[in-house]
Subunit: 298 residues, 2 copies
DNA sequence: CATGATTGTTCAATTAAATGAAAAGTAATT
DNA sequence: AATTACTTTTCATTTAATTGAACAATCATG
């Protein structure tokens, strides 16, 4: 079954002659002649009666032409629809990110992307579990930490710096906190994925492991931040998330010379032959927006 | 633009894998792979995301598939419609014939054709003028006399024998009519297309030309026959047309040893690669029916 | 964990299609 | 009536597509 023969036949009918069809299709007349003849042979009917320098569609030709031309219209429509979609970023883009990346950060990202590309629809999938992008039909992920899947393309966004925070009220009432070992005398608000046993802190000279009592563990950075603001203890949190609370003096840095770990942040997406415009658009905006939020990776 | 690529792509989607599509299409997997890749390159988009031994239709792929599969459906429908039409004679068949071939003969022909092929619709174009079959969209002609267009296929039906007829009543009252020269004493009812000047008559030994007075000329065989039956004169008419009148003794042969000309009769139709079923059916029945009506050609 | 089966991709050899040129036929123009 | 222009068809040469085989990766089975 060769649909290109049908396409040539339909064009011949529309153009009124083999020669005119050849000109319109940019093909030699011998190609037109051969393809129509081949179609007639394959179908076992005469579609065009051709003598006296003129063509006459046979009844079979008319029957075939009516259906075939509609079909070809759809096929061309299919390509036109793709062309239209390609020229501007539009449609649904599905993004996955860690649930605790920070509401303000994600809200800001969505706002900026959709301001620049009004036709884009974003579906954010915030989850702590590993997401298989291809299997789940997710276009792009924001991932922190070490990357697992080497078949994906990764684009660095910087890194998340963790640091110690507490409220001024808490610090007024609490024992002195002048070095990391003093933390064992304080209420430590632990982020469960960070680990239950210890906090690793470092300064320019050294690194220290502070054992944790494990009394307060929450797997939500937002809840831990709120508890810290309420004076319920000392928290180890991403610095970029606490910046607004620092400005309003609800939180202050504790032991500022000592830092938690730094987690790399990447955009990751599947390798594919042709980059969809909406994905390219999203990546461009996300990089511009998020690089300002995270610590520059050295 | 290569629609066969689209067909392969659509089949891959429907089958769920390249390998399954290859089996269903009877093509090697390398052909499937190459054609889909070529389609993606030509369209400039990724239609299928293919990793981990599974396929995922991209959004572009979905967009394209929806339209393309409808289009291909129409194209296959076009072929199916032709297949159905080919298997039984049906539809309109346009036949041209001389206007004066005889109502009974033509009525009989139409009746027999349509009895044997109930789905055939016959349009009879009875005319004296030359009909260009292809230009006028006529499928087949019954032609008498010498053929003009050698590009048509001709199938002999026999020949029309012209002979002298008159009513018994006329002959009772008229002068003796025992040899062709006696005709000048009679009223000769002339069929204009036969010629205005003379009647050519022949027997086994010789041929004679009888000059005509030209007083009664009509270009309708039916009218001449009716006049002869009314006793208005002697007519030179096709024998097959007069057989019923002979049986009822309204007409009798005059000078039976002397005959007019014999006109060959043919079915003629355009040469074409594939004989439409309805034309083949008509020819078969027309030959069977008409050969019994005309004198067998030696 | 090793093996076999299945997937999709790539490449050199084979096969098929496309093409330019020429031919035959017809219509339009001079 | 002769010439020119245009049509469609055919064929040898050129070009492109198809294919079998091999490869790499993954899944299912023992």
């Amino acid at each position: 079954m060769d649909f290109n023969e049908a396409a040539v036949f339909v064009k011949v009918v529309q153009a009124g002659s083999f020669s005119a069809a050849a000109r319109q299709l940019g093909l030699p007349t011998s190609t037109i002649s051969t393809r129509v003849a081949r179609l007639e042979k394959r179908l076992g009917v005469t579609l065009l009666q051709r003598t006296t320098r003129r063509l006459h569609l046979t009844e079979a030709g008319t029957l075939y032409y009516e259906q075939a031309s509609i079909g070809l219209g759809y096929l061309m429509e299919a390509e036109a629809a793709l062309d239209a979609a390609r020229l501007q970023p539009q449609g649904m883009l599905k993004v996955t990110a860690p649930a605790d990346l920070g509401d303000a950060l994600l809200a800001g990202l969505v706002k900026r992307v959709q301001t620049e590309y009004p036709d884009l629809v974003l579906e954010m999938l915030l989850t702590d579990r590993y997401v298989d992008l291809i299997a789940e039909g997710v276009d792009v992920a924001i991932r922190t930490g070490e990357l697992r899947d080497s078949s994906l393309i990764a684009k660095s966004l910087g890194s998340i710096q963790w640091a110690l925070f507490a409220s001024p009220l808490y610090l007024q009432q609490a024992p002195a906190l002048e070095a990391p070992p003093h933390l064992h005398a304080h209420t430590c608000l632990q982020f469960t994925p960070m680990g239950r046993e210890q906090w690793l802190l470092s300064n320019e000279q050294s690194e220290i492991s502070v054992p944790m009592s494990g009394r307060t563990l929450v797997n939500s950075i937002g809840v831990i931040k709120a508890m810290a603001e309420n004076g319920q203890g000392v928290a180890l949190l991403p610095t970029f998330i606490c910046q607004p609370a620092q400005r309003s003096q609800q939180l202050v840095r504790v032991l500022p010379a000592w830092l938690g770990r730094a987690d790399a942040v990447h955009l990751v997406y599947p390798q594919q032959r042709f980059m969809p415009p909406k994905l390219r658009a999203f990546i461009e905006v996300a990089v511009a927006e998020l690089k300002t939020q995270f610590k520059e990776t050295l």
